[in-house]
């Protein structure tokens, strides 16, 4: 009786998992294995069937000027967006968490960029950045400054995109910090107030440490975002000028759909996957289990 019941529970479990497991295997697990496999083969327009070439794809990729640029750009992009948008998220949360006139409206304005699609955000900022018609240039000419083509200049294009992404993301982290701030016991703050601690000491000794789990969580999300979102590049720069705004996923996108070099696309995908696994490992081993998913 007990054995047959356990058997039944096993069968039911697998039956219930089946619908999600099929799609999980098809679009997450199988493609990862396939990519790893393909990365050892030459597979492009010149080959009928994939030819085994060992690590040559990786070697060629490392020698590829464009890949190196996309890799370095992506690191700068990560450095430019992650700490700033997380820190800004914290600041914004502290600002709107105070009961002042208009704080609800301010919260709305900080959060709406999170809700709109990245593509439309890209178009909105395109209007800002474009020379001649763009609003930033109109302002500059108003003050008598010269024309500035932010997206057309390889020394400013990445910064321009970073600014836009910070604008889009900060509100997202603000929400996490708001939730955390509201969970801080009020008597803790009051006690320190009675002890005569200044606001700054209060923040440094009580609030900031208590926000640490949120900070780590936000850092992980922001890091993943820095590698997985390239919609804005398709709209604003196509990776240009001169690959100055090319990022890894955009490189994969172009290798796949423009140059049809599947071996290279596979190798580059592996690089990004390894980065993701490293981030996950840091999160898993380096942080409190409480903020982990399990």
């Amino acid at each position: 009786m007990r054995i047959s019941e356990r058997m039944k529970e096993n069968v039911t479990s697998w039956l219930f998992l089946l619908p999600s497991l099929i799609f999980l295997i098809m679009f997450t697990l199988y493609p990862m294995i396939k990519t790893a496999y393909l990365s050892f083969f030459q597979s492009d327009l010149s080959t009928d069937k994939p030819i085994f070439i060992g690590l040559k794809n990786f070697k060629m990729m490392m020698e590829d000027e464009v890949f190196r640029k996309a890799f370095i750009n992506n690191i700068w992009f990560a450095i430019g967006t992650i700490p700033t948008s997380v820190a800004l998220g914290m600041v914004l949360a502290i600002l709107v968490n105070r009961k002042i006139k208009g704080s609800a409206l301010a919260r709305t304005f900080f959060f709406y960029p999170v809700v709109i699609p990245m593509v439309s955000a890209a178009f909105i900022w395109l209007f800002f950045y474009t020379p001649e018609y763009g609003m930033i240039n109109k302002l500059l000419t108003l003050f008598g400054a010269g024309e500035l083509n932010l997206l057309g200049n390889s020394s400013t294009v990445l910064i321009a995109i970073i600014v836009m992404v910070i604008w889009k993301e900060a509100g997202f982290f603000m929400i996490f910090y708001l939730a955390a701030l509201q969970n801080i016991p009020k008597d803790l703050i009051e006690a320190s107030h009675i002890d005569g601690a200044s606001k700054w000491i209060q923040f440094r000794k009580i609030v900031f440490p208590l926000l640490m789990p949120t900070t780590i969580f936000s850092f992980v999300i922001a890091t993943t975002n820095a590698f997985k979102t390239i919609d804005q590049l398709v709209v604003m720069t196509q990776g240009g000028p001169n690959n100055a705004s090319n990022l890894l996923l955009y490189y994969i996108y172009e290798s796949t759909f423009r140059f049809m070099d599947y071996g290279k696309a596979a190798a580059a995908t592996i690089v990004v996957l390894v980065i993701m696994v490293v981030i996950a490992a840091i999160q898993f081993f380096g942080t409190d289990r409480k903020i982990h998913y399990s």
């Binding site: 039911t12 697990l29 208009g102 304005f109 959060f111 998913y293």
Partner: protein, 261 residues
């Protein structure tokens, strides 16, 4: 000091709002006359020069289709992980965790070839199918299910409910806030999806709004057309913004909910 902080809050809020007001201004501005006069001409022209009604319909079908399937798959999987014991549990659980680690967006290259092999390139199904499971949703819901008293399940069993009936009558109603949170995040996320549908579609009858907007803007690539492109951008974001402004509390608490594990 407090005054300075209050002021900086307001200044930052205005800075954040500027892009929105900027695009509204551009969409309503009559480019043919000097200075500013309000016109809806840009909207009419945008609507008439690309099949936006079709794009809206496509986006609706895609977003609803994904959510409908997700609700079924995440409910069943979340229940198993919350309440059942089976052989291989540990490994399967890890497999689902992989999807949290590796976002599906990074797998555009292998997944697009899978779609081609399945012979469903340029269909709405191709846009939807990778998203039919959401590991994020499963873990979110599992957490809620675990918090539901086990006595309720036992009571349902006593009444003669089988597993499916128990899930339907006990777990689903009690997890309503989680479903709403997940639904809002899923819908707004899929409404915004761009790169995958861009890759996997090739005709207006399947393109969602985001891709339609990009195609339309590419076709009208000159400064004089900008009011029209601004109007088209508003087509894409308006439903989301309206929903957000109307159900703001719900939106914000949903996103908050998703962050605390």
């Amino acid at each position: 000091m407090n005054r300075v902080i209050n002021l900086s809050t307001h200044v930052l809020a205005i800075l954040w709002a500027l892009p929105l007001f900027g695009i509204i201004y551009m969409a309503f501005k009559d480019t043919k006359v000097e200075g500013f006069s309000v016109t809806i001409h840009n909207f009419i022209e945008a609507w008439n020069s690309a099949p936006f009604a079709q794009y809206y319909l496509n986006t609706f079908i895609i977003v609803i289709g994904i959510l409908a399937v997700q609700l079924v798959t995440i409910t069943l999987a979340a229940y198993v992980f919350a309440r059942m014991n089976f052989v291989g549990q540990g490994i399967v659980f890890l497999l689902y965790l992989v999807q949290i680690m590796i976002p599906i967006e990074l797998l555009i290259f292998p997944n697009s070839s899978t779609i081609a092999q399945l012979g469903i390139y340029d269909t709405k199904l191709a846009i939807m199918i990778p998203y039919f499971i959401s590991a994020f949703g499963i873990f979110l819901l599992r957490q809620t299910f675990k918090g539901i008293p086990y006595e309720l399940e036992e009571a349902a069993k006593m009444e003669g409910c089988n597993r499916i009936q128990t899930i339907w009558h006990v777990y689903v109603p009690l997890a309503k806030p989680t479903y709403i949170a997940f639904g809002l995040i899923s819908v707004s996320g899929q409404w915004s999806n761009f790169l995958w549908p861009l890759i996997i579609t090739d005709s207006d009858s399947n393109r969602p709004l985001t891709v339609g907007l990009a195609m339309f803007a590419k076709a009208s690539d000159s400064g004089a057309q900008w009011g029209v492109v601004a109007a088209a951008t508003l087509f894409v974001i308006l439903p989301l913004l309206l929903a957000f402004f109307l159900f703001q509390r719900q939106f914000i608490s949903s996103f908050m909910h998703s962050g605390i594990k």
